[in-house]
């Protein structure tokens, strides 16, 4: 009787489901280029925005982004934060920088890490460059680029961030 009155506070019911994952047609093209050491975006045929990483559609227009654009290894800091807590399982020691970066040739930022920099001197509009792993280690992954590091180039005015061509110059409309 006393046993029956014990509340049951849990049961074990582990769930295992197996899936054959595919990245999608457009993301597959992006990842394949990344494995070859190339950052690519895709241009919307409607509004001409170049997206990285591309998912297959321009979310603003709702149409397929078919045109592949090879982007520069150079980028501009759009925003950043200095993180004082560790990333679980990541060798990077705090404090470190997480930044919104727009590579030259793209209009939309993506997020990556900044290093080889004085954290207190990082600022919006700062020019940075990708530091790639050795070619032998390239795979279908974003950390083929270990981090971005500062570049000795003049700052990009805020109103021009996200509007540079792959050559780093302002795109004339």
């Amino acid at each position: 009787m006393s046993e029956a009155r014990e509340p049951v506070t849990g049961i074990e019911a582990p769930v295992y489901l197996q899936y054959q994952f595919t990245a999608g047609r457009a993301p597959s093209r992006f990842l394949s280029a990344l494995k070859q050491g190339r950052l690519t975006g895709q241009r919307c045929p409607g509004c001409s925005q170049v997206y990285i990483p591309p998912r297959g559609a321009c979310p603003a227009c709702g149409i397929a982004t078919e045109e592949e654009v090879t982007l520069s290894n150079k980028a501009t800091v759009q925003s950043f934060t200095i993180v004082y807590i560790p990333i679980p399982g990541n060798p990077i020691k705090p404090p470190y920088i997480v930044a919104n970066l727009v590579p030259d040739g793209a209009n939309i930022s993506f997020i990556h890490l900044l290093s080889e920099c004085v954290n207190e001197e990082v600022h919006i509009g700062q020019r940075v460059q990708a530091v790639w792993k050795p070619e032998a280690e390239w795979d279908y992954k974003m950390d083929n680029i270990i981090y971005y590091k500062p570049l000795d180039e003049p700052d990009v005015p805020v109103e021009l961030i996200g509007k540079l061509g792959v050559d780093g110059r302002e795109v004339q409309p």
Binding site: A13, Y19, Q20, G24, A26, S28, G56, C58, A60, C61
Partner: protein
């Protein structure tokens, strides 16, 4: 009078556009956005609209468990053109229920038009096993009882009670495969006799493999509006006269699995019996379930059942229910039928059922 039929005098709903992709055994690397985009484009083009900015409301149906991608339905919004922001909603169900939500939205006067879509990429997982996880999580899901096995137990009850014969089941499959020969989006089609089908080996007895719908990838989309808006667009449309859905107990052991009282109730509320039914598209993932549904809906000789081949010819989970409504709509707009019934289901052994009545304008 119950359900949405009672409200129908207030704002009639017009179905204006529908499109469905091919049912493919595997869509390969195609992701959810890539599956959805062509269907949305197709219905937009049918009406002459640019993108989701041109409708008042968007609602989708999908289930992330199918492809094992968390928040895949959020990524699907990339197919819409949601800049500037749109009014959007999602059901973790078949898109037939997204249609239901959209109908409510319009009837309440919160929108005059809506885009509805459903998508499914079931091929990356083991669908019957994935669906076992929709069962009661304490006593049934841990046993991994799959949907095919549950349907097989239901068929066994039907056979043992003398409510159907194996030949009746094979006749459903034979008609589905033959009708599907005229459906360019079907996955399984062909001229197969009842005798030939009965020669096949059992799969999960008493079900043979052909008694079960195939696993399919694809998507479908629909545009509905008030009759006034449909008139303004100037495109042919059909009237969604009634729509209702009812659910039965989660506990399979308390249900009469040889009948579908929830379908019968939904049919009453949707007004199925108010006129002759020329065509019916029923979401019956297993052959014997088509017989249960036809009886619950009171369909007679005058009704063509599943002229598309139904889901035995290709089953887009989370889109097939919406597609049933779309199939009836297309047959009414083409003049092939005047009045039809569409049915959608969800859950094991026809647990949850939606019935819609579509009529010529």
């Amino acid at each position: 009078m119950s359900g949405l039929k009672a409200m129908s005098a207030q704002r009639d709903i017009a179905i204006v556009a529908f499109h469905q992709s091919d049912c493919q055994a595997s869509a390969g690397a195609t992701n959810e956005v890539e599956l959805i985009m062509p269907e949305i484009r197709a219905v937009m083009d049918q009406v002459g609209l640019h993108n989701a900015q041109d409708v008042d409301f968007v609602c989708s149906g999908s289930c992330d468990y199918l492809q094992g991608a968390a928040f895949a339905f959020v990524a699907g919004v990339d197919a819409l053109g949601a800049v500037p922001p749109i009014r959007e909603s999602h059901v973790e169900m078949d898109a037939a229920w997204a249609l239901y939500e959209s109908v409510l939205k319009i009837r309440m006067g919160h929108a005059d038009s809506a885009l509805i879509y459903g998508f499914a990429k079931s091929s990356p997982g083991e669908l019957p096993i994935v669906l076992s996880q929709q069962l009661d999580p304490y006593y049934l899901a841990p046993l991994w009882v799959d949907t095919v096995s549950l349907a097989a137990m239901q068929a066994r009850l039907m056979l043992d009670a003398g409510k159907i014969t194996e030949a009746d089941m094979a006749a459903v499959v034979s008609r589905s495969r033959r009708n599907a020969m005229n459906n360019p989006h079907a996955q399984l089609a062909g001229d197969l006799s009842v005798e030939a089908l009965l020669q096949e080996a059992p799969f999960v007895s008493p079900l043979r493999r052909h008694d079960c719908s195939p696993v399919s990838d694809g998507a479908s989309a629909m545009i509905i509006a008030t009759v006034e808006q449909a008139e303004a667009w100037g495109k042919p449309y059909a009237i969604l006269r009634g729509i209702d859905h009812r659910i039965e107990s989660h506990n399979l052991c308390t249900r009469d699995l040889t009948d579908s009282p929830s379908t019968r109730r939904a049919a009453e509320a949707a007004g199925v019996a108010d006129g002759a039914i020329d065509v019916a598209e029923l979401y019956a993932p297993f052959s014997h379930q088509e017989i249960i549904l036809s009886r619950a809906l009171g369909l007679g000789e005058g009704t063509r059942v599943n002229p598309s081949g139904g889901v035995l010819a290709g089953n887009l989970m989370m889109a097939s229910g919406l597609s049933r409504v779309g199939e009836v709509f297309q047959r009414i707009v083409s003049g092939e039928a005047r009045r039809g019934v569409a049915h959608a289901t969800s859950g094991p052994c026809l647990q949850h059922n939606l019935v819609a009545v579509v009529e010529a304008a």
